[in-house]
Every structure is written in C-alpha cells, then in structure tokens.
C-alpha cells in the first residue's frame, strides 16, 4: 500500500542529536555573549529584531536538516536537495548575520575601506557554492556518502556567510557601499540564474543518483505516483528553485540595501571628499 503524504510528513523526520545540540549551543552562546558585561560601551544590547533573526536562522536550520526536506534531499528528490541547498546557502547565513549585533565603529575607521579583493573573493565563494556542488560528480557523491553530505552542508553555511558578509556585516565599514553592493547581488543573481536555466532545460541529469533512489522509507510510490514527480519534472523544479526563488533572495537583498540607504540621514554618504569634476 502506498504511503500517504501525511504519513510521509510525520515519519520522515530525522532524530540526529548533533544538529539540535549544535543549535542549542549556538543560541546559548549568542545570548551569553550579549550578556557579558566585559565592555558594556562596546556591545549594543540584544535588540528584539536581532533575536528574532537568529532564532529564525536556527529554526530554518532545523527544518533544512531534520524535517522531511532533509530526508528527501538525502537521495530521494533533487528538488528537495535544491530547497535544502538554498536554505543553507541563502537563507540561514543572512538571517544569522542580521542577528549579530553591531559594535560601534571605532572612530579611526569611519570611512568605507578602499576597494580590495575581499568582495570579489566573497562573491566567488557564494557563486561557486552553487556551481561547484552541482557538478554531476560532486552532486552524486554528496547523495551517496554521508561524509561528503555533511561536508556539503557545512561548506554551504560557511560559504553563504562569507558571501553575505560584505552586505550584512554588523559594522558599516565592513560593508560594500550601496552601488557596488547592488552590483554584487545583481551579478550573483545572474550567475545563479544561468545555472538555474541550464538545470531546468537540460536534457541531461545533473544528479543521476536521484534517478534510482534507495527507497528505505517506502516513499517512492508516493513521490513518483501521487505527487507526479518524475525525475525530469523533479529536476525542472530544482532548476526553477535555483533560478527564481534564489534570485528573489538576492533581489530582496538589493531592496534591503536601498531601504537601509534611504533610512540613513542625509549627509552620511558624504564622508568622501568631493572630487573635482
């Protein structure tokens, strides 16, 4: 008898002690760090919106790793893998960065730094996290080997944080100026779109491991039959996820930059000396 959707949603949770422990430790550490009375003048109080962002990041991490999304990503569905990939790379890192509180800037370094290779490096890190893990060999390896899968998840979180640092770093002087910031996100969106389009329309399987899942749960008839997710359609959904929702995140980031910029009082942008035209 075929499993029903409800049964799947209830049974496909994983009980892995490592992730909850890690999350609990992260949250506790975060709260503790904000309570430390070491130098009260340098640490701003834990604002409510920051706490919400960080709690959301932890919650999404739970969902991405332990919920049926994580289970299905583990060899069943390419689209579930892509959803997990997006959550780890594009949702959790920005949320955690927004949860960090800003130390007041030291008075000696109030100007944005001169351009360096830090931002292109971060851009490359973020974009290659999308491209490299979808090279067929690596994608298959990550579905077959638990170690590679763990490595993938950890690297996505790390690379995502690296990528969003020039946009969402707690201190203003670590961030890109608005216009380069917009270009940074827009080009990332385009790079992501290109791969998304390729995956959506490619007649070749990106991840052949998803063609013939090892059906430990007995969920395959439900996925292929009731849900109608043939391997082709599954890959299409995966490609579309990479293409449209991913770009919405980058686009949202651009709007965030604009909103932050408009909210700054006039004159803040004038710290640089006026050039002679």
């Amino acid at each position: 008898m075929t499993m029903t959707t409800t049964e799947l949603l209830f049974s496909a949770w994983r009980f892995d002690p490592v992730a909850p422990a890690f999350c609990a430790a992260a949250l506790a550490g975060y709260v503790a760090l904000h309570r430390l009375p070491r130098d009260p003048s340098r640490v701003s109080p834990l604002g409510a919106h920051r706490a919400v962002c960080l709690s959301l990041a932890v919650l999404v991490l739970f969902v991405a790793l332990l919920s049926p999304i994580g289970t299905l990503a583990d060899g069943y569905l390419f689209s579930a893998h892509m959803l997990q990939h997006l959550l780890l790379l594009l949702v959790i890192p920005p949320l955690s960065l927004m949860g960090l509180s800003a130390e007041p800037a030291s008075p000696t370094r109030s100007e944005p730094r001169p351009p360096s290779l830090a931002a292109p490096g971060a851009w490359l890190a973020g974009v290659s996290a999308m491209w490299v893990w979808h090279a067929p060999t690596l994608c298959n390896a990550a579905t077959r080997s638990a170690t590679v899968h763990l490595l993938q998840e950890a690297s996505l979180l790390a690379l995502g944080t690296w990528f969003f640092w020039p946009i969402l770093a707690p201190r203003r002087e670590d961030r890109l100026a608005p216009l380069p910031g917009i270009a940074y996100l827009l080009t990332a969106c385009m790079a992501c779109t290109l791969l998304g389009i390729a995956v959506t329309f490619s007649p070749i399987e990106v991840c052949s491991a998803y063609l013939t899942p090892i059906d430990a749960l007995g969920a395959l008839p439900l996925l292929r039959g009731t849900w109608g997710l043939t391997p082709e359609r599954d890959q299409q959904i995966g490609g579309l996820l990479m293409w449209l929702p991913a770009c919405l995140v980058y686009g949202g980031g651009i709007l965030g930059i604009l909103a932050r910029w408009y909210a700054e009082p006039e004159g803040e942008a004038s710290t640089l000396p006026e050039e002679v035209p």
Partner: protein, 747 residues
C-alpha cells in the same frame, strides 16, 4: 555666443550655440540645418529624438488606421493578407523601436542633464552618434519596402516563420539589421545616461535627492544595457541562418525554434519596463507639481523601480505559456509574473496618495497623467489575468492580448509622454502649448483610445484571433470592430490636433516664464528655453525639491552636502562591459546548448588544435599583464617605457588574431564552414565575435599608444588608459571562458 568646436577633450564646451526652438535671444548665431545636423548639444539631440519619434508616430499610426479600415467590416477585401501581415509587423516594430524608445530617449536626453544641474551629457559625441543611428535604423527598416516587401513575420519575428523558407523576401533581413542598428544606438544612449547621472550631478544632488524621472531613466538605462544585447545576439543568429545558411532556429536541420522565443522574450519583457519605467518617472514629476504636494513615498517609488527592473528579467516565459513548456515552468512563471504586479501596483497608490488632499490643477499635463493612472491600471489588471496560464491559453493570440498591451503601452507610456510633452514644452520652446487645443487633444484621445481598445477585450474573449486580415460575420463582431475603427480614427484626429498645437504654439503660443508651473526640480531654474550652457550658475541643492527648499531656506544657507562622483570613463567602460558580457553569455549559452548532442560532421574534438590555440591563448592572456605594466609606467610618468609596454600589448593581441586567422584558414580548407553543422556555426559565431572584440580593443589601444607617445597624458593624469584597459582585460576573461568551454572540453 559662437559655436565652439574644441578639438579633442573639453567636449562639454562644444555645444552649438543656438537657442533650442523659437525666437533667438542671443543675437547672431550659426543656425539652419547644419547647426542641427552637427550638434552635440543634448537639448538639440533630445529634440531631434522627439521629432523623429513624432514622424514615426504618424507613419506607425497610419499603418494602424489602414488595418482598422480593413477590419471595420467582416469579410472585407480592402487589404489582402500579405499586405496586412506587413502592416502589423511594421506597426509593431515602428511603435516600439522608432516611437516609444526614441521619445523616451528624447525626454531623457533633454531633461537628465538639466535636472541634475549639468552642462551636457557625459559624452556628447557618443550622444550624437546614438541619435544618428536612429534615423539610419528607421531608414533601413523602411527601405525594405523598396527591396521586395516589408517584413511580415510580426514584431517578434518568431522562427521558423522568420527563416528564409517561410519569409523569402529581403524584408526580414532589413528588419533584423535595422533592429541591430537601433539596438546599438539604444545601448550607446543608455551608457551615456548612466554615466551622466552617476558622474555629473550638481553639488548637493545626492542619489537620495535625484528627481524620480532621473531615477527611473537610470533603471531603464540599466535594463537597456542588459537586455538589448540579448536581442542583438539573437538577431545575429537569425541573420546567420538567413544569409549564411546556418541552422540556429531551424528544427528540420537540428536547430531549435523555441530558443528564438526564449531569447526574444528575455529581451522583450525587460523592454516593456524600459518603456514603462521612464513613463512612471514622468508621472512622478507631473502629479506632485499639479497637486502642490511632494511625492508620497519618494524612496518607495525609487526602490520599487529597482525591484521592477530586477523582476522583469525573471518573467519572460509568461509570453510562452502556449508553447508547451510544461506545467512546472508555467506555474513558476505565473507566480513570478504576479509578483511583479506588487511593486507596480503599489506605485499607483503612491500617485493617488500624492493627489489625495492636494490642491489639484487640471492642466492638460495633469489630465493626461490622471488618465494614465486609470488606463495603466486597466492594463495592469488584464495583465494579471494573462499571468494565469489557463486564461492565457484561452485568450493568447486574440484581441484580448492586443487590448492588454495597448492599455499598458499606449494608456501607460504614451499617455505619460503626452503629459510630459505638455509639461516640458514651455521649457523646451519658451512658449506654452495651447490649453484649449490641449483639452480637445486630451478628450478625443481618451475617448478614442477607450473606444478602440476596450471593446477588443470582448472580441478577444469571443475568440477573434489577432493578426488575421479579416473575420467571418459572427454575431456582434462586425459592430464591435466598427466601434474600434471609429475610435482609432478619433485617436488619429487627436494626434493631428496635437501636431497642429505644436506647430501653432511654436510661433504663436503664450510666452512661458522660467518656472511656469511653479515646479521645484532644477530644470525650472534654467531659462525657457535654456541657454546653450544650461545654467549661469546651478542653484544649491538642499533637498529633494531644490527650488522649493531654496525658497524656504531664506538667507541662511545650510552647508551643501557633498556628492560622490565616480570617474566618467570608468563608469562608461564598466557599463559597456556589463552589456558585452550579456552578449557573450548568450553566444556561449548557444554554443553549449547546440553542442550537447553530437551531430554528423566536424566536432570540437575532431577539428580543433588545442595545443596551437593554447599558445595563442598564452599570448593574449600575457597581453593583460603587459598592459598592466604599461598603466603603471604611465602612472609614474615614464612615457617611453609605457609606450613600449603598450606596443608589446598590441603586438601580442595582433599575434592572437593572426593565430585565429590561420586557424580559420585551416578549417576552411578542410571544409569546415559556418553552414556545415551546428558545431561549426556556433564555433564561428562565438570565436568570430570574440576576435572582432579583440580587433576593436587593438584599434583602441593602438590609438592610445599614439596619444601616449605624443605626450597627451603627461600633464594631466587621465583615466582613459585604465578604462580602456578594463575593456581589454574583459576581452581576455571572455577568452578564458571560450577556451575552456570550446577547446579544453574537447580534450
């Protein structure tokens, strides 16, 4: 004042010194046709754009009226099917590329420098070139009539209908070449507008205080820079198919016709917003002034323009619901298309909220702006219905769609352009347009427009197909079509009334003062019409409404906020690189796509010599290093060393081109030509266009070598070599991708 033509540099002063239109206030000047043809003054170029658009509006409008005459009755035989196909193709192409875009570029050209307190555009000569490509493109398109028939495959030229097998006359070739020429001109104009806006703003005019019209033109220019290259690449492929017997879009030969649709709409949907965003900008200027209130939610209007710009690249497949892309794709694009309605819809509320509680003055400009709100909202709502894929399947290619996009482009863009014309005519000419004629113009236009297009919603739902030269006498169809035709002629009469108003007001209109509408943006501080140099002195900008803020500030002026202005050469070249990158992305994409499956005939693995090309690749890549050294030597003021390294750069680039030439010669000798198979076609297109870019880079660097040796950069540091260097490095980076994808993958 006399015409100053300064050889080399200082081009901002090189403005032809004739008052723009109307009576001369500057004594004796050079005037007549020459002053207009040779001008580099942004105001004259702006007016040339607007007049060209007006001429083509009358041509494109007449084509529409001929079609409406044929459709006035069922089973009419005034115009045959072939002529009808040519008419709707020419009408669509003309209205988009020769009317709407030039009119927008005209207003942008005229107003952006004035609104930001600049003397001219950042690159006046580039500006003149961008304009003159417009009449050239228009001429090419219309010359087709004499060369065997106008194009007849529709304004989106769907393959394979646009291939030689189905469109054998030269019309489609002229169409494709005209669009290429117009596309290059548009990109040039957009690059210039970006550079002008970012680098020439007056003191105090930060980006947060930029007039919303300038903001929207900036976003639209970015869209032009990114979207037009996609069309250009597709047109190049279509021309390869037609003239060099390649098979990009011919399914019978292994090509793919749907790819044309993807390419066309990747350009085509952003194009809708290229037309709509500047219109939003006009409305955002007109409504506050005639409501006597600042715009409601300035930052939202600006930021949502950016959001619309980004989203516009992610919705194109909603033009292709009927192609059969599959439910998954249809659902995804239905979703993204509805999303774009949100920022657009909220803008409407911004404008309504601006009007709410204001003391409204319904001059003609405001009448058109108010009508815009209503007509554009109707077009937006029918757009949401079309985003629902099942509804789209029912009404696609019917008059429902015709009604929808005319409400968006005519009811939206053109109404806004009329509002802009009535609003800014006093600035351009020093005289008001006649308000009584204007009121007649407005009401005949609104009534005619709604008569023409509202009934087409019903015709579409009843199933009347568009692009068919006649229709059977079904119940109601004849009556509704007759109503539509009557409305169209009312619009035609209204357009003639507008032309008459222009002509009459130019000579006999009431004289306009400097700031006739009591507006507050900087262009109203310049004389009406503005002097050739625009401003004697630019008023200090203290906020989002400069003239109002200045009046409020009284005698004690606060400190002027400093404005950050990037280098104009760098901005121009970096924007150009973004555009060219788009072009190459499409070519590389096509190469990968068409080489996924191996066909009979040569392949990369069987005919390419990777080692030999590897050597030439090393030459090209090392030329980036030698150029960097040349830049450093120039920076240290060592002219001869810099010249030597620059010379080496040119030599290395030249060796690369020789290598490519010998490779092509060898391939040609072994029978590998562009029409042999899809590998050969895509290979020659991709590497050939890269070679062309290397050649352009060589000419640029060679010219700079001459300037360096002559000592032009000795006195004043210049960003020219560094900016040209950006382009050269970009060409090398493109080759890294080409070499990896074409050559290394073949190993």
């Amino acid at each position: 004042v006399t015409t100053v033509v300064s050889p080399g540099g200082a081009s901002e002063e090189a403005v032809a010194a004739v008052p723009v239109v109307g009576a001369s206030e500057h004594g004796h000047e050079e005037s007549g046709v020459y002053a207009w043809v040779a001008t580099v003054d942004h105001k004259k170029i702006g007016i040339l754009y607007l007049l060209t658009a007006l001429v083509f509006l009358l041509i494109g409008g007449s084509e529409a009226l001929l079609m409406r005459l044929q459709l006035a009755q069922p089973n009419a035989d005034l115009i045959g099917p072939d002529a009808f196909n040519q008419l709707f193709t020419m009408h669509g192409t003309t209205m988009i590329f020769l009317v709407a875009m030039p009119a927008i570029f005209g207003f942008a050209n005229y107003l952006v420098p004035l609104m930001i307190g600049a003397r001219d555009m950042a690159f006046p000569r580039l500006n003149a070139m961008s304009y003159w490509l417009l009449p050239f493109g228009g001429f090419l398109l219309h010359f087709s009539v004499m060369a065997g028939g106008a194009p007849s495959a529709g304004w989106f030229g769907y393959a394979p209908l646009s291939e030689t097998g189905f469109s054998s006359s030269l019309g489609t070739d002229y169409w494709a070449m005209a669009l290429l020429v117009l596309g290059i001109g548009s990109v040039g104009g957009a690059l210039n507008l970006i550079a002008t806006t970012l680098t020439l703003r007056a003191p105090g005019l930060t980006m947060k205080r930029l007039p919303l019209f300038v903001w929207m033109v900036l976003v639209a220019s970015v869209l032009v820079v990114l979207a037009l290259p996609v069309l250009n690449a597709a047109l190049v492929m279509l021309l390869f198919d037609r003239r060099l017997t390649a098979h990009y879009f011919l399914p019978s030969e292994g090509g793919n016709a749907v790819v044309w649709q993807h390419f066309f709409w990747t350009f085509g949907h952003p194009e809708v917003y290229i037309l709509a965003l500047p219109a939003f900008g006009v409305i955002s200027e007109v409504i506050p002034v005639f409501s006597r209130k600042p715009i409601f939610g300035y930052s939202f209007v600006a930021a949502s323009g950016v959001a619309i710009g980004i989203l516009s690249f992610g919705v194109w497949a909603h033009h292709m619901f009927a192609v059969g892309l599959g439910h998954t794709l249809d659902m995804a694009f239905a979703g993204s298309s509805m999303l774009i309605a949100i920022p657009t819809g909220v803008k409407i509320f911004n404008w309504v909220a601006t009007m709410y509680g204001g003391s409204l003055r319904f001059k003609t400009a405001m009448l058109f702006a108010t009508a815009f709100l209503i007509e554009f909202t109707i077009g937006g709502l029918s757009g949401i219905t079309l985003a629902v894929a099942p509804i789209d399947w029912q009404v696609t290619d019917t008059y429902y769609l015709v009604a929808h996009f005319h409400y968006v482009i005519f009811g939206g863009t053109v109404f806004a352009l009329f509002a802009g014309a009535y609003y800014w005519f006093p600035k351009m000419s020093g005289r008001f347009l006649d308000e009584r004629l204007g009121t007649w113009n407005f009401w005949t236009m609104v009534i005619g427009f709604n008569l023409t297009f509202f009934v087409q919603h019903f015709l579409g739902i009843m199933g009347m197909p568009r692009r068919v030269f006649t229709y059977p006498d079904l119940p109601g169809w004849g009556t509704l079509n007759l109503v539509s035709t009557v409305g169209a002629f009312a619009m035609g009469a209204s357009a003639l009334l507008f032309v008459y108003n222009l002509a009459r007001s130019l000579s006999r209109g009431e004289r306009a003062p400097t700031n006739p509408w009591e507006a507050w943006s900087l262009e109203w501080a310049a004389a009406s019409p503005p002097d050739p140099h625009n401003f004697e002195s630019v008023p200090p900008v203290l906020g989002q409404r400069p003239l109002y803020d200045l009046a409020q500030a009284g005698s004690k002026l606060p400190q002027i906020v400093k404005v950050r202005r990037p280098d104009k050469n760098k901005v121009l070249v970096l924007s150009l690189i973004a555009s060219e990158a788009g072009f190459f992305v499409i070519l590389i994409f096509a190469y990968v796509l068409y080489n996924l499956v191996h066909e009979a005939g040569p392949t990369a693995a069987s005919v390419l010599d990777v080692k030999k090309t590897g050597f030439f690749t090393a030459c090209l890549l090392s030329s980036s290093l030698t150029l960097a050294v040349a830049e450093r030597e120039l920076h240290k003021k060592r002219r001869r060393a810099s010249g030597a390294w620059l010379g080496l750069t040119v030599l290395l680039g030249f060796i690369f081109l020789l290598g490519q030439a010998s490779e092509y010669y060898g391939l040609w000798h072994s029978g590998v030509t562009v029409s042999r198979n899809l590998f050969a076609t895509t290979f020659f297109t991709l590497t050939g266009f890269h070679g062309l870019h290397v050649l352009v880079g060589l000419v640029t660097l060679g010219t700079l070598l001459g300037l360096v040796l002559r000592g032009d950069f000795d006195k004043k540091p210049s960003s020219v070599l560094v900016s040209a260097g950006y382009y050269w490095h970009f060409v090398d980076v493109v080759w890294i991708f080409v070499f990896s994808i074409v050559y290394l993958r073949a190993l």
